[in-house]
């Protein structure tokens, strides 16, 4: 009786898809193998950017999808990570082995400091407060001379972690994929743990959660800081991957894009978020950049997703799954899974 059984009889009675773990492993192996089949730098680059984005998106899944704390300002923390790590390597001459963890630490601290006052707000107020916060940081990035502002900061150290040189396209791909996978594993662990349950409790019924003994303010601050440190990690990786950053990259459009990726993915789902992130990073690249039309497409996407598909990719998959189960099983699948199968 091991993890195998638990995985093959998940708490929701859907049995059409093969055990999710198998499918997951297959997907991960495919992702790892891609550079062996695809030599085209163009595609490798897009996928690498997807993994970099995914790191930030996964944190947001926990914060927004599970704990239900909306943030329209996460681009600020991506920017913090990019500038801290970039500048640390340039000005202080430290290696990425120091600067990247430093960036994450700064992301955590700033996030935690802001979380306590800001997360006392809910709903529209929280949305606007985080939006304003993001814009404030955007202006700071733009105006500070040390960041180079909109003109940018060229010559950032490339993706070299001590002896590990990841500057080649394949190296960068595998390196960022590894980071994204590690992040996904951490997030998955949190989701399946008691912390995850408490976060979802806070997200679905905050008053009841408080009365049940959950220190909501502390939980929210902790998960916010967790997500901002991941955003900072994402920013740091981005900076060293492209070796040139400009404050233009870290504004509201990025914040909104991150939220879109979470929502289109199905809000609570890590897999859905991954699919949405890859799709929404690659598609613009494939279409040669949408140019002016990108806003139109993202906007329309947002509208349609929220009007009709509030479950996102994961919800869609779940619906399809349930439909297949319903159609294939003649009798009502009535199986309780109390302590016996766990």
């Amino acid at each position: 009786m091991g993890w195998w059984d638990r995985v093959s009889s998940p708490s929701r009675r859907t049995r059409r898809l093969p055990p999710r773990a198998l499918l997951g492993v297959a997907v991960v192996l495919t992702a790892l193998a891609i550079p062996l089949f695809v030599g085209d730098r163009f595609w490798l680059n897009l996928l690498t950017l997807s993994w970099i984005n995914l790191v930030a998106v996964l944190g947001l899944v926990l914060l927004f999808g599970h704990a239900n704390q909306i943030s329209f300002g996460h681009a600020a923390f991506v920017g913090i990570g990019a500038y801290v790590s970039g500048l640390a390597t340039m000005e202080l001459g430290v290696s990425l082995l120091v600067s990247v963890p430093l960036a994450m630490a700064v992301g955590w601290v700033v996030g935690y400091a802001l979380a306590r006052p800001v997360l006392r707000l809910h709903g529209l107020a929280l949305a606007m407060a985080t939006l304003a916060l993001g814009e404030l940081f955007f202006i700071v990035f733009r105006e500070l001379s040390i960041t180079g502002g909109a003109n940018g900061l060229p010559g950032i150290s490339p993706l070299v972690f001590g002896p590990l040189d990841l500057t080649a396209p394949e190296g960068a791909y595998w390196g960022t994929l590894a980071v994204a996978l590690a992040t996904a594993v951490l997030c998955h662990n949190v989701i399946r743990s008691r912390v995850g349950r408490c976060l979802r409790a806070i997200g679905s019924a905050p008053t009841a959660a408080t009365v049940s003994g959950i220190d909501a303010a502390s939980y929210k601050a902790a998960i916010f800081a967790f997500s901002t440190s991941l955003a900072a990690l994402s920013g740091a990786l981005y900076a060293h991957y492209v070796t040139f950053i400009s404050s233009d990259s870290f504004g509201l459009p990025l914040s909104i894009l991150l939220v879109i990726m979470v929502v289109v993915g199905g809000v609570r789902s890590l897999w859905g978020a991954a699919a949405a992130t890859v799709g929404l990073t690659i598609l613009p690249g494939y279409l040669g950049g949408y140019g002016e039309y990108s806003g139109l497409i993202y906007g329309a996407l947002l509208v349609l997703v929220f009007m009709y598909l509030s479950g996102g990719v994961a919800g869609l998959v779940e619906t399809v799954n349930q439909e297949l189960t319903r159609l294939s099983v003649p009798k009502r699948p009535q199986r309780s899974t109390p302590a016996e199968t766990r």
């Binding site: 979802r200 409790a201 008053t207 009365v211 003994g213 959950i214 902790a222 109390p338």
Partner: protein, 254 residues
């Protein structure tokens, strides 16, 4: 008879409205107390103050001699509560809902959770304790169902179980029988009596007078923020002032 809960001069004002005006009472240890009154009498407000969700404008709440008036809700480990409009944790199963009640307290442990430190042991213990409670609430057949898919009666039981999961000395129930069928009400009454047998103190807000007479030995009647009656249940329900308060309002129960 020792006093578990003591409330003195409790006043709650919102803007221009006075929800509670200088209410004082005591609840005996191990007793079942019913808090009744017409709609808008301030009953839920009272419970909110007792659970720490509402800060009183004036007055004090003492639990076993300790002043808990300003204590944050999540720190009231002695207390468990259900809500008038049932508030289970949607998106989670019955089992997970109960688990939250068990696991909520203590350090967050984000790092430990992310790294799966000690996870197997903790999960097993959490599930075992949850299973016991689910068994007790007769919810075993639906333990793995998402709580929002259950009918109201089951949801109220889940909420009850979640409150019980904190092993509370004091249980606050806000219209826990509201919307339940006769059989479900019986079930609930049985659960409440069992709590009393375990030595827990219960305060329940109720509109259903049969429920009240069946369970409560102590009656508190609120009307428009004032305490109208404080004493034995039977006498209270036949008290003329109490009757007048109910008949005078649009809600004429009893």
């Amino acid at each position: 008879m020792t006093e578990a809960l003591e409330v003195r001069g409790l006043t709650v004002r919102f803007g221009g409205l006075e929800a509670l005006g200088g209410v004082s009472f005591a609840v005996a240890d191990g007793a079942i107390t019913a808090l009744i009154g017409p709609n808008g009498a301030g009953k839920t407000t009272c419970l909110n103050v007792l659970s720490g969700l509402q800060k009183p404008t004036a007055g004090a709440v003492r639990y076993r001699g300790r002043d808990v008036t300003a204590l944050a809700p999540h720190r009231r480990q002695y207390l468990g509560r259900t809500f008038q409009i049932v508030a289970p944790f949607d998106g989670m199963t019955v089992e997970e809902n109960i688990q939250v009640g068990i696991e909520a307290r203590g350090r967050i442990g984000l790092g430990r959770a992310a790294l799966r430190v000690g996870r197997r042991r903790r999960e097993r213990r959490s599930r075992e304790r949850a299973a016991a409670l689910i068994e007790r609430m007769n919810l075993a057949p639906v333990a793995s169902r998402l709580v929002e898919t259950l009918p109201l009666g089951h949801q109220r039981l889940v909420e009850f179980g979640r409150a019980l999961a904190q092993d509370p000395e004091l249980l606050l129930l806000d219209e826990a029988a509201s919307g339940l069928s006769g059989g479900e009400m019986e079930e609930l009454a049985g659960q409440v009596l069992r709590c009393r047998d375990e030595g827990r103190t219960v305060v329940l807000i109720e509109h259903n007078m049969r429920f009240v007479t069946r369970l409560a030995d102590h009656l508190l009647v609120l009307d428009r923020g004032n305490l109208l009656y404080d004493g034995a249940t039977e006498a209270g329900l036949t008290d003329p002032a109490v009757k007048a308060a109910y008949l005078g309002s649009t809600n004429g129960a009893a």
